[in-house]
Symmetry: C2
Amino acid sequence: MKVMNVDTPSVLINLDRMEKNIAEMQRFCDEHNYQFRPHIKTHKIPEIAHMQLAAGAIGITCQKIGEAEVMAAGGIKDILIYYNILGESKLERLARLAHRANISVAVDSETTLKGIGEMAGTAGCRLGVFIDCDTGIHRTGVNSPADALKLAQLVMQYPNLEFKGLSTFPLTPSSGPWFEEAQQVFEAAHVAIPMVSAGSSRGPQYAQDIPQVTALCAGTYVFYDWSSVETGLVDVERCAASVVATVVSRPTATTATIDAGSKTLSSDFGYMKNGDGYGHILDFPQARIFSLSEEHGQVDFSQCDRVPEVGERVFVLPNHVCAMINLHDVVYGVRGDEVEVIWEVGARGKVR
Amino acid sequence: MKVMNVDTPSVLINLDRMEKNIAEMQRFCDEHNYQFRPHIKTHKIPEIAHMQLAAGAIGITCQKIGEAEVMAAGGIKDILIYYNILGESKLERLARLAHRANISVAVDSETTLKGIGEMAGTAGCRLGVFIDCDTGIHRTGVNSPADALKLAQLVMQYPNLEFKGLSTFPLTPSSGPWFEEAQQVFEAAHVAIPMVSAGSSRGPQYAQDIPQVTALCAGTYVFYDWSSVETGLVDVERCAASVVATVVSRPTATTATIDAGSKTLSSDFGYMKNGDGYGHILDFPQARIFSLSEEHGQVDFSQCDRVPEVGERVFVLPNHVCAMINLHDVVYGVRGDEVEVIWEVGARGKVR
């Protein structure tokens, strides 16, 4: 199947670029002695996770049990669910998973830890536990190194749990002092920290200034997106995921409307808090997607040499690739002008 | 199953409120002699479409062929696909649909019309055609009443197409003068306009000032959402769809983090161009969801009497219900504290 015959709107994955992104992040980790555990929330496709493992990753990261279930069913054997897991239904699913694969979780409260520790005891399964540390953004995580130590010591009281280390998302300027203090606090208590894991595709930029960090986690890097470019992380040539769309209307002389709206691209801005436009149109770098409704994107081409006609195709880099992929049931892996693989987005829609 | 046993995050539909919303919109249309064709993009569930038809709707509106295919498979017999349909793959699917149900489409260009007219001739199917009119927002639609007439006359040259009337989305202050001029232009040419259809759940507010409008289309009204409340359309008691979420972390004394982020609520603002927060928490009206990441919502409870603890549940009205439902594979229809029905969101993920 030729790419030109893929109906619109559809997600195209440039396989050459994706493979390069996977290889380069792994090479960075290898060169700097970081263990690497990619976050699959970006692609949600078991086969891509296997590619990341084949490149050298020690396991994968998921955000939800539903994602981990899909990945385990896809044969992945080492999974960190980086989330505070609460409630009977999820704990039962966690126990079932832990009988099939090496599962770790992240906790930041005694409430969460108690549920997991008791479930592991009852179900007779083993679980690794990271202490989630709030080193800057106040989303989740224990407040202080002292609290991290206290929770780690509690983990050790559950015979079925193993303290795996500290983790944070994302690295910020305050992460360095935080982990330095944590190192001192844990050393004073004679508690070893097996691993310090730090998240985000921007992590590599900051991790090298923080000697305590021993492991990295990143998701977006597998495809990158327009917000990665706009915020200076990578060049546009690293972006591996685009949406092919068709011009369906030409409401004015300088604007065109495409068949990709918020239900195709998502209106999420990703790394940008607020973006000037809802993505980037390749071949028309001066075009601006100034409005998204559910199934339409309105594009201003007034700064371009020409305006595409009704029926023409354009290729859009999404602002936030993770939010975009999550809207699609399938993606098309392409090499050159050929579709090489059609992947089901296996872990899409797993809200729990 | 009790509502309290539904795992989080999940979409809850208050059936009493939904039924009231369906009945009241239909009563308004009946009282004012509007034909009503609800847009199913909001719920994407055939059974709810049947409820809307049973209340008196003349048919349904879809935005995509994929939605129409699901609705036709659900037994719906009269469907307007309010979209410029282009390309061989979609035209073939349109022809198959037109053999199973009464299908109309909207067109705003000769390019689109030509494809549809020729396909209908080749496939031997009949299709209704609305001329999509740009009466204000420059998203799609012909630019002028004269262009509408020209395109309507072209429709009549295709033996398998029937000119059904004019349509616009949404009604704006300029829609009135536009349709007044259209009436004059069409009368001068002795071309009858069978129907003038106007879209959006805000339509009823404006339609009564425009005597040419004979039919309404609305989607959001079936559930409404926080943006409907914030923009003064309805009271909060009309909102029928919420997300039940669990507090998974308490990073600070005055904030809590819930297990509903942008992949559960969507970061779309709906009717609001920019909202102050990503939804509204029932029972905590002063709380503010100040940040969404993919699987976390960060909530400021500093203006509330208390802050919910880890493990507590909260109920969130989404800013944009259409974008939210589109993220979920199922929704839970509830009455009182009982789950009465679990609906698959049948037309979710139909990006084409």
